[in-house]
Symmetry: C2
Subunit: 541 residues, 2 copies
């Protein structure tokens, strides 16, 4: 159904004919997982909200307010050079320059239950495990690794809203169990998890949620977990001492009590000694409710074998990647299709299967005629990624534009997203580049309400308390007093203003055109002709 594009890479085509192979075979999810690549090797489907992937360490963003520089390495949870895996969490950004998420971490283990993840220096102090890259396999939609400390083979796949785990324990493993760490998070400083609730609904179903105060200031992650085998025994610890336990004090809440709550909750679920048959764990996520998570889980995984879900994920990727045909040598093909793969992870679907989603106003909305997306890293993506979608994924592009307009409707500032994720504006970076994204969509004929888009664009460009905009509108540039990035702000605003002017021209709106065409020349006010470079200046010129 998608238009297919055929490109030929400039390099000489390899003598070996590669073009008959599946596109997915060229993708290597390990590329970029070292140092500052900030991508993850785990399992996801195109634009799925679930990215089920190993986290190789947990470095808090700050300790008592002091920034921990190594946290930045863990934006996507995984560092190739790390010797241990802490566990498999369900949400990860791909390629961002800042972070959050790492929600709902699951880790299989054997022997005595350890509630803390331990350290890289002393893995035996916690539930984490050593592993080696030899046992890893990472392809689009599937990841596997052997956890050496437990002899457990871990296999992961995903649907849009669900993570699917298969853990094969050694025969007669001692106390095989599954850790569910609701305290784990990426950029996990003290107090990031505001609250976690868990309900053990029956011996195969667990529901719950957690609320985090992260880069997304108030982020709600609801989950529903189905185990393929009955839970024999379970319990939890709360690393935070509850201020007050009320009537719960009359119970032995830590052991087999099905109503768990706390600020730093880590649970274990024990199973009968392994019979060589794997334990499968299926986790549905929702930002709406536990009910929504369960609906998502059942709609996307019920009645499907693990291998079938792997195959569906593979097919989804093959279909998505097939939108562009290229030829090149093996390295070029890997580079191209891995890059294309990376363009198709974020933004992510942020909506239950029934169309309910949590809006920026934290109310629950129904998406009317579109699929709601989140993760709009617009300063990073307005130049290339979003315009690319207008060529290769016009339906997705329309859905994303509609999601941005819904954000505008729900914004107390009445603006388009700057950098938004999970029903929150995180305010990262500068500019009001949502306008550029919509301008490109309109210029390329994406079917959205153009007048409404125009209104949202003008409103976003005239908010008077954002990054020196008041001064910009008065002086024609952002003065250095307002922000240390003043020259960049001026240049980016001027570009966005040009995008608005061009859209106004398309829509025949002369007034907006004149206003913003004039504003688009403002970059000149922060350009130093003497040195030939952008240079900020003070308000007094």
């Amino acid at each position: 159904i998608m238009k297919r594009f055929t490109l030929t890479l400039a390099a000489v085509v390899s003598a070996i004919a590669l073009s008959g192979q599946p596109k997915t075979s060229y993708v290597n999810p390990m590329i970029g997982t070292g140092r500052m690549g900030h991508v993850f090797p785990g399992a996801c489907v195109p634009h799925g909200i679930v990215a089920l992937s190993p986290d190789t360490d947990t470095i808090p963003h700050n300790i008592e307010g002091k920034y921990q520089p190594r946290a930045y390495e863990y934006c996507a949870g995984y560092q190739y050079d790390d010797p241990t895996i802490v566990g498999f969490s369900h949400t990860h950004f791909s390629g961002t320059g800042h972070s959050d998420l790492g929600d709902i971490l699951i880790m299989p283990a054997t022997g005595p239950v350890k509630f803390n993840p331990g350290t890289t220096a002393d893995p035996d102090s916690g539930y984490r495990s050593r592993y080696s890259h030899e046992s890893e396999k990472a392809v689009p939609g599937y990841y596997e690794v052997t956890l050496d400390d437990y002899g457990v083979k871990a296999q992961l796949t995903a649907t849009k809203r669900c993570g699917v785990h298969r853990y094969t324990f050694p025969q007669d493993a001692d106390n095989p169990h599954i850790m569910l760490d609701l305290n784990h998070a990426i950029y996990n400083y003290d107090g990031k998890v505001l609250w976690a609730n868990v309900r053990v609904e029956n011996d195969r179903l667990v529901t719950g949620y957690r609320i985090t105060n992260g880069w997304a200031r108030t982020n709600y992650t609801y989950f529903a977990i189905r185990f393929s085998k009955p839970i024999r025994n379970y319990g939890y610890t709360d690393f935070a001492t509850p201020s007050y336990r009320g009537g719960f004090a009359k119970f032995d809440v830590k052991h087999n009590f099905p109503e768990i709550g706390g600020k730093q909750v880590v649970c274990h679920f024990d199973f009968d000694p392994a019979d060589g048959q794997p334990i499968e764990i299926r986790v549905g996520l929702s930002a709406v409710s536990c009910e929504g998570a369960l609906k998502n889980l059942d709609a996307e995984t019920q009645g499907k074998e693990f291998d079938c879900i792997v195959a569906e994920a593979d097919t989804a990727w093959e279909d998505a990647l097939g939108v562009i045909d290229v030829q090149g040598d093996a390295d070029q093909m890997a580079m191209f299709y891995t890059s294309l793969y990376h363009t198709m992870i974020n933004p992510s679907v942020y909506m239950d299967v029934d169309g309910s989603y949590r809006g920026l106003d934290h109310n629950i909305h129904k998406a009317d005629g579109f699929t709601n997306y989140t993760v709009f890293s617009l300063w990073d993506t307005y130049r290339a990624l979003m315009p690319l979608y207008n060529i290769i994924d016009r339906k997705g592009s329309r859905d994303m534009a509609m999601s941005m307009l819904a954000h505008y409707d729900q914004s107390v500032h009445h603006i388009l997203p700057v950098w938004s994720h999970c029903a929150n504006e995180n305010w990262c970076m500068i500019g009001y580049h949502g306008v550029s994204v919509l301008a490109d969509a309109i210029a390329k004929g994406i079917d959205i309400d153009k007048e409404k888009a125009m209104e949202a664009m003008v409103s976003s460009a005239t908010l008077p308390y954002y990054g020196g905009t008041a001064e910009y509108m008065k002086l024609g540039y952002v003065p250095l007093e307002a922000t240390s990035t003043a020259a960049s702000n001026t240049f980016e605003y001027a570009y966005d203003d040009w995008a608005i002017a061009n859209t106004a021209r398309i829509l025949g709106n002369g007034e907006v055109y004149a206003q913003f065409y004039a504003r688009s020349a403002n970059w000149k006010n922060s350009f130093d002709c003497g040195c030939g470079l952008a240079r900020p200046k003070y308000a007094d010129g």
Copy 2:
């Protein structure tokens, strides 16, 4: 529509004919507001979730885990002997022996903004104010007082889901402003408020919510506040230092920034110097969403003058209290109708005007054919209050029984409420007296699904990990090893078992009848014929 009952008090009827007066004229809401009465003098309508009432102090339940005995005096927020008023919060229990709530405190003030409430010993250290009882007026549905420190006359009324405030500032008051303290709570220990969000939607509308970890372990209170005059200026402080501010660090978030969030948030809203015209503030609450709070606010207050809402509250009380006609002297009439008034506050409606409510599972449900209620203090109310409703308020009684059955459906323990409020089981006190309440309803012909009620009753009586029930079922009594209240548990369980047996008899269920009739004799196992008293014994008899 209600059946009216006529009683004659045993005492000699006063020579002054009292019976022609409105029933509300006999009610004195100040009765019980001293010492351990645990009732509030403020404004509410029958069974409304909003109880808008002055709080005269804030004593935390504990400080670093150490219980503060004086907290107990403040179960309903108000102590008659206190010399100051901290402010007016929207939710209060009436007559309970433990506490929570005190949500969404509003206080008018003048002069420099003070963010903390100050202390009784030094009222000028905070925003609280001195007052005297001479300026107080408390009648059903209406409360007024003069706040001496600011010369502000405060008038309060309520609908089921809304609090309505009218504050008259002195002419030319200096910086008249309204404090919105989202950190205030009854039994307010450190960390009780998990999170608070506020959105200043426009210069007359503020929405938001807070989540508390109190006696109700995870309690969601959403609000929508409409001011009758435009906000001129606003801001907040957060007494908790945020661990991480992310992109919000680029804003002056404390001043006129419409997106506020934090753990200990106190806001101020400033208005133009007073012109002698009162500021009216209308606050809708919801446990579902801000959208729900706004719907409730507009459905119940839009287009109505303050005095009209007062009159409607008065009429609601007159209608409710009119269900029983008594005659007696002035003291007897005050005692009777004030007591009757106190029977009609809790349980409270816990449902938006559109039928949505937060269930015990924290999912949002639609009430199908009933009005959902909360605050089931059943150990206190199974003997007299709930049976009274089966006589004087059969519709309310049915709604409450249906609410209890919904609780059962949503309970991860599959049991009826023990002591539940605000979508949480707080587990206070002993027994499974929900069964007694339903048994009385069925015996008195309340129209509920009797078979389902029977199922819920049996399930509640056989939960094996609650208050020595496992041992009770095995030994025929609760042994002292299980709980220090073992003899009481045995007696109460036996009574509840008799209630189940009697219901089974009505329904013709011989098996359940036989089982529970046998259990109902268990009290004998904890009765010491020697001393003629109940006496607990150990498991070995």
